[in-house]
């Protein structure tokens, strides 16, 4: 059992948990994730490790409610216990001193980007960070990213904070302005795909963090397969980070929709049950 030691609702739809998991806290590196199963009937949900506190043995996760399992996880308040938390899984981000790096995060992807921002800054890079969200009140981790960025650019759909527009516009500006040695983009599939296009146009290599549907997370089922440079890769062990230019985006985004009908059914049933209770 893994205890939730702190619970916070960050925005209307995004939540943060600190979980007591000393072994994971001791070892996790930027870019790695855990798989959580809440109870005996639960599914395995992968979530990025946003931060660790090795001293107290804690890990921090931030998630967005999008379906049944995440809605249920949002009910796990301080003091409740999760049946399974396994990790740290995946290959860590290649943190080193590249020179100047550009990091782009969108939506809840910012939670997954934050440890990389911090890691790259600590490795001596000049860090330029672009964060994007629909509006100001759902833009997470702004101050924390600012702390580890030499420059922070905010983009919102409605212009409620920072500039109005898409993260790719900010990327264009930066690329036109100065030499970037390595870029990252973490967010919804469609955003990462466009970020890859922009970076590739400017000849900048860009890492993206792929989040396909997963089961075991240890390379034993092939559910998380993605095609990269025409080869089948397992995102849970070979990734989740890959160079965006090699990713077969069409099939990646297609496979994410595989269980849409069942997910909808599960969510509706859950909502109904909750109303009854």
């Amino acid at each position: 059992m893994f205890k939730v030691t702190a619970y916070e609702r960050l925005t209307t739809n995004e939540y943060q948990l600190w979980i007591d998991a000393p072994r994971i806290a001791a070892r996790a590196k930027p870019g790695q994730f855990v798989i959580i199963r809440m109870d005996e009937t639960g599914e395995r949900i992968p979530l990025t490790i946003c931060e660790t506190n090795p001293k107290d043995g804690l890990i921090r996760i931030i998630f967005q409610v999008i379906g049944k399992s995440t809605a249920e996880l949002a009910e796990y308040k301080t003091g409740s216990e999760l049946l399974d938390v396994v990790g740290p899984l995946g290959t860590p981000t290649a943190i080193k001193n590249y020179g100047t790096v550009l990091l782009v995060g969108g939506g809840v992807g910012i939670a997954a980007l934050y440890p990389t921002v911090k890691g790259l800054k600590q490795a001596g890079n000049r860090v330029i960070t672009v964060l994007g969200a629909k509006s100001k009140d759902i833009l997470i981790l702004r101050d924390e990213c600012a702390k580890y960025s030499d420059e922070l650019i905010l983009m919102t759909d409605d212009g409620s904070i920072g500039r109005k527009g898409l993260v790719t516009e900010a990327m264009e500006d930066v690329f036109n302005r100065e030499q970037i040695d390595q870029a990252w983009a973490v967010g919804p599939g469609i955003m990462m795909r466009f970020c890859t296009q922009v970076a590739t146009k400017h000849d900048v290599p860009v890492y993206v963090s792929l989040n396909p549907i997963m089961i075991d997370g240890t390379g034993m089922c092939g559910c998380c397969r993605v095609t990269v440079d025409e080869h089948i890769k397992f995102a849970c062990v070979d990734g989740p980070e890959f160079l965006g230019a090699g990713v077969d985006w069409d099939s990646f985004m297609q496979r994410m929709r595989q269980y849409r009908v069942q997910e909808k059914q599960a969510f509706e049933q859950y909502e109904q049950l909750r109303q009854v209770q």
């Binding site: 070892r27 009937t41 399992s69 396994v86 089961i215 390379g219 397969r225 099939s251 929709r257």
Partner: protein, 472 residues
């Protein structure tokens, strides 16, 4: 004495029409009277060829005699000397290629062999229902870490606990058992039986820590440092894909994923359990081993309209257990022999609609002596399918190996271990089961665990003796 019957005592099984749509166990097992009747067919051969063909050399005539005498307690004591997992092996061992193949009775023309596996199952099920109190043993001879809780890891752990070692098993998944839990379906091996066997290993004092991925949560070097010896039994479940066009379409699965969703995650009970699986309509399974049979029969139980297996050789070469093949045919599964897939076809939404196949002809024998199948040009045809499951073999589980290069592997990626001692390139680290042999059988994985327990005991005893004499 009554005349020996030519045939094995019939065993109760669920009706094929009924069982093809449920996940309950197919074969129901003997009761005590049926068991005694079957046991009375045994000739009690002095040279006991059956025993020599059991990978762990169970005293088969010995336990069969006890059944005949109605002494179940005596029978279980005999099996316990050789095997910790009788209820499992009795169900899933390829008996017809091992003990039963060698049975003297079966070798005479008219007779079927003694149903050794089913008798073993009878004794072990009785044993699980009538457990003996375990004696508390001090675990003071040393500490051993076991990586992986499949049959190999469970066996080595159980044996070492009995010898007086403190043993910790680390398992990456949430539930122990390895393939017994996530691979072999409920209808062949009930998870309640696996759980009872696992609990019995726990009762011996073995600690099982789930949700620990060695190489990620804890490193192998840390284990080597912390324990007197380690055993690596991480299995070979990593799926291979044929990588034909369309592999990323929705509806295309590896057998590992399909079976894991069903067995480990209980997706056949969706939405009571949260993990979904595609509704089975028209299902095509590719491959000819046990894994292919299990996938096909599971799809049928999920309610498929039709299920076909495509295999590139013919029935004679089918690697699956023949009993499972017969069961699958009874359940309505169709076969396309000498057929290979060349591409998956999909609609504009990325959903699988069919499997394009080609007919094969058997050519010259290859290195393995089997005739190599070769495609017949122009023989392509399409099988309509909404789900396709590739069961074409698995490779080594790499998570731990990739993070521990000290452990030498062979050219197939399996751990290089001495099969007689389970010793590896790292002193104090032993390995066995599928991670050494490649995908094999439960009983072979268990056999390796038996050998390793003996060798680890010797290794630690010698090490301790040396240390004591040095410090003296």
């Amino acid at each position: 004495m009554v005349k020996r019957s030519y045939n094995q005592t019939p065993i109760k099984a669920q009706d094929p029409k009924v069982r093809a749509r449920n996940f309950d166990e197919v074969v129901l097992g003997y009761d005590l009277d049926e068991g005694r009747l079957e046991a009375s067919r045994c000739l009690q051969c002095k040279n006991h060829p059956c025993m020599l063909h059991c990978p762990v050399m169970i005293d088969i005539p010995g336990f069969i005699k006890k059944i005949e005498d109605g002494d179940m307690d005596g029978a279980r004591k005999i099996i316990a000397k050789y095997s910790n997992l009788g209820a499992i092996c009795g169900r899933v061992c390829p008996q017809e290629k091992q003990c039963e193949m060698a049975c003297t009775l079966g070798r005479s023309k008219k007779f079927e062999p003694v149903a050794i596996g089913k008798l073993e199952r009878l004794v072990s099920d009785w044993d699980l229902d009538n457990p003996e109190p375990v004696k508390a043993i001090p675990h003071d001879k040393g500490r051993v870490a076991v990586v992986g809780s499949g049959p190999s890891g469970l066996t080595v752990a159980g044996d070492l606990a009995v010898k007086g070692y403190e043993v910790v098993i680390y398992e990456a998944l949430s539930t122990p058992g390895g393939v017994l839990t996530y691979g072999i379906p409920e209808f062949r091996l009930p998870k309640a039986t696996v759980k009872k066997e696992v609990d019995r290993i726990r009762d011996l004092g073995v600690k099982i820590e789930t949700d620990v991925v060695i190489g990620k949560t804890i490193t192998m070097s840390e284990l080597v440092e912390d324990f007197d010896a380690c055993y690596v039994g991480v299995g070979a479940g990593a799926p291979h894909f044929m990588s034909i066009p369309g592999t990323n379409l929705m509806g295309v699965y590896s057998s590992s994923e399909y079976l894991t969703r069903i067995n480990l995650m209980h997706s056949y009970k969706f939405p009571a359990y949260d993990t979904p699986i595609e509704p089975a309509k028209q299902v095509v399974v590719i491959g000819g081993g046990n894994v292919a049979m299990d996938s096909a029969r599971s799809a049928m139980r999920l309610g498929a309209e039709n299920v076909s297996v495509i295999y590139r050789r013919s029935l004679e070469e089918l690697p699956a257990r023949i009993e499972e093949y017969h069961h699958s045919v009874e359940e309505g599964i169709q076969y396309h022999w000498l057929t290979n897939p060349v591409a998956y076809l999909g609609d504009e939404n990325g959903q699988l609609t069919g499997v394009k196949c080609i007919k094969m002809a058997l050519g010259e024998p290859d290195e393995s002596g089997r005739r190599r199948p070769e495609p017949i040009p122009g023989s392509e045809f399409i099988i309509p399918a909404t789900t396709a499951i590739e069961a074409i073999g698995q490779g080594a589980n790499r998570v731990m190996l990739d993070t521990y290069p000290d452990l030498q592997t062979n050219k197939w990626g399996y751990v290089d271990a001495n099969e007689e001692t389970c010793a590896t390139s790292v002193p104090g680290v032993f390995a066995g089961g599928d991670i050494v042999t490649g995908a094999a059988t439960v009983i072979l994985a268990m056999g390796a665990g038996k050998i390793a327990a003996k060798e680890i005991d010797e290794y630690i005893t010698n090490k301790t003796a040396k240390n004591t004499s040095h410090s003296a």
